[in-house]
Symmetry: C2
């Protein structure tokens, strides 16, 4: 493994392929009970009668899975220092039991913090299952600057 | 409890106060291990040396807690049918162990689906702890129309 990346190591257009995460019925139900106790995430029979046509993960679980893949395979190999939010999060298709999810990350923009020794790395996260894109997220982690560490 | 609300029962400017959720160190660590295994969410000592100045919840957990409050106290008392995404999510302050979180929901806009018997209810979620606003989220649940059910 290379030494951890700094803000200066990121450039618009860079892409990273990060995977994989296996989604199961048990994980969907556990997350729904804790955070999104709606019938279409909690109950297979009720879910089959909804617009979603079957059990699907909470959209917040889908985002959290993308976060997991990005943290484990990218941010934990940088000097990451948190984030300020999500600019956009689109749930394009339901995430189902049995889905194997992988994440494509593209760096969109980089900008140094005006006063602190960090920078903002705006990135697109596209989450795919075996067949299609499930979610599109834009978010901006904060990463320490090499010039400030030097 | 009133009968479940339909799309037509929502109007821009309506506000709902929904609470409460107690955040604990154990909940922060469990979520971080599952979805956001970065040091500032996983390790109190490491967290104290970061910009966040102490252990704080993953931003995705903060969003999921807002989802929980909205599902339990509002959407589960409607004919809700999922959602398409999050227009905006801002993490304004760290969410810490011991925080008691409550959610203020304001309806921003309503629009019927052009073809299906549902409508989009765009809402702002403002999540507060005992002292200040922790997060601001804009999201658009889908809710069944009464006119289509009649």
């Amino acid at each position: 493994m290379d030494s951890p990346k700094y803000f200066e190591d990121f450039h618009p257009g860079q892409k990273f392929l990060l995977g994989e995460y296996e989604l199961t019925k048990e994980k969907i139900l556990a997350f729904a009970r804790a955070f999104d106790p709606q019938a279409h995430h909690l109950d297979e029979d009720a879910a089959s009668r909804t617009l979603l046509e079957g059990l699907s993960a909470s959209g917040w679980q889908v985002g959290a899975i993308a976060m997991r893949l990005c943290a484990e395979h990218l941010l934990n190999h940088t000097h990451a220092a948190g984030g300020t939010g999500v600019e956009e999060c689109r749930w394009l298709k339901p995430a189902r039991p049995g889905d194997i999810l992988r994440l494509e990350v593209e760096i969109l923009a980089v900008s140094p913090h005006p006063r602190r020794p960090v920078g903002f790395v705006k990135m697109a996260w596209d989450l795919f299952n075996q067949r299609e894109k499930v979610a599109h997220i834009v978010t901006t982690p904060i990463i320490a600057r090499r010039d400030a560490a030097a």
